[in-house]
Symmetry: C2
Subunit: 332 residues, 2 copies
Amino acid sequence: MTRPLRIAVDLLGAELPASELIEGAAELREIRPTCELLFICDSESIGKESSNGYQIVDCTNWVRDGESLRDILRERTRTSMHVGMHMLHDEKVDGFVSVGSTGALMALGRHILHTPLGIDRPAVIKEFDGKQLPFWMLDLGANIVRKPSTLLQFAFLGSAYASRVGGVERPRIALLNIGIEARKGPTLLREAAALLGAAKELNFVGFVEPSHIFEGSADVVVTDGYAGNIALKAVEGTVNFIRDVFFHELGSDDHGDAAQAIRKRARKRFRRLMRKLDSQRHNGGSFVGLNGVVVKSHNGTTAAGMTAAIAQAVREVEMGVPAKIQAFFEKG
Amino acid sequence: MTRPLRIAVDLLGAELPASELIEGAAELREIRPTCELLFICDSESIGKESSNGYQIVDCTNWVRDGESLRDILRERTRTSMHVGMHMLHDEKVDGFVSVGSTGALMALGRHILHTPLGIDRPAVIKEFDGKQLPFWMLDLGANIVRKPSTLLQFAFLGSAYASRVGGVERPRIALLNIGIEARKGPTLLREAAALLGAAKELNFVGFVEPSHIFEGSADVVVTDGYAGNIALKAVEGTVNFIRDVFFHELGSDDHGDAAQAIRKRARKRFRRLMRKLDSQRHNGGSFVGLNGVVVKSHNGTTAAGMTAAIAQAVREVEMGVPAKIQAFFEKG
């Protein structure tokens, strides 16, 4: 690259003040000192001292939840999300992170950045830690359309990601379902299974239940955005619940020195475990199937979560993810 | 009651041999010595000594996964599931536990036992431990039909269960969705929210995300059987994953006496936590909305899991759950 890596970050609509989220990014500067960040936000609402030396793009116009996609695509073309997407398209930045609506990001990304050959819809993908091996799951919430042909495209996108980015040879692809028997679940999934099974280029291994995804029977778990988001958030909720209850249980113990030492050790172990689960909890879902690096952040993210989402975008740019995915579809 | 409490248990189709599952029930005998169990299974496959003194109903005919509901209802009327349902209907037993298909149990229960006034479809409900309060979730897998009117019925069933059985006054009812904003998720859920909001008898509080169900914002979480089963199994998978990784982490430590003592203590704490999560992992989902106690067990259950499912049926019989639910719908 002839210039430093550059990421645009759309903060409009975030629950926390922009100034707090921008300050959080200082950590990233330590890891990637040469990375340039450019924040799209309402510059009036942040003090000049809060910009932390980063570039600010002033914008007050943002996509509100529940706006029609038609309006977003045709009428309201000066929102923070449009600004970021166009900067990415025009190669003024290398990656785009947004706290905006996943559905709007999907639609706008598709419209401005376009999708690889043969792909109609991008999906949100995430890498998870499994017991032995990592695995990928998609779509985690970009599309609530439920069509067998869409799931087939997600299977190809997941296979492309796991092989070209994750380095897995002939990734094993499974469909998320409520049972593994061939006749389980909605008709949609049985039709999708027939399509995936017939696609010679895919290493389709059948259905997988959410209770077994961590056990390593599949490298890629394919699902629609509704079920995928339900599963993702159930995992998040359980991790948080166990963490809170575990610390509460430890805290309710006696207060002798020995007991305190044990508590300290156990907490340390538990934190190590929670780090392993970080990828499950981390903020930032990557779009796969857009010709550009786009990462969706929770709009309720903390400063640390925002930094994690930006770091995710940086990694994807450095690895050249979109080009690798495009190459997969061009060469087959 | 003029005779001891009696539960019929359909074991046909279980992964473990019937003899092992029957032996597991010895634990239950200790807790409820007067409870009579009656196992429906293939008597040839178990030794006489394995019956453990329980009554065995010989049957070799069972509902196979993927059989059409039409066949089950009209043609194949001598399966173990039919035998159990008819015993329950004829009051020869007080509760019925089956390892058979949830969908078949739903259809057959509806056909033989019938549903309360105004209810078309029963659902599978389960009590979960939350951070502060328990909560109930339904449907966990009986129906893959996705209709707003069905979700409205589940809301009433959940409200009936939480108030009449759980003792919660004016239970707060939420719909499971991938966001809490009014326009999030599939159209189905927005239509259902309108129906639930308009029902004066329901204390509808809006959408809840799976990441927040443990936090106490709702007493009853209503969802369709597909999303509910996805969420339930994602919780199960995460609990198992954390348990396995935690013990692995603890095991990889040094082997001095002090370290071993700490491991032992931390494991004890973690087991205590896991007991709190038992209700999340426990085998046995109860049908609500059938005029009789029917509990569905995993077909891959262990002996301990089978005992848990039977104990669940015993509790429901003792509490008179179906009569309480019926009374709710008759009196409004």
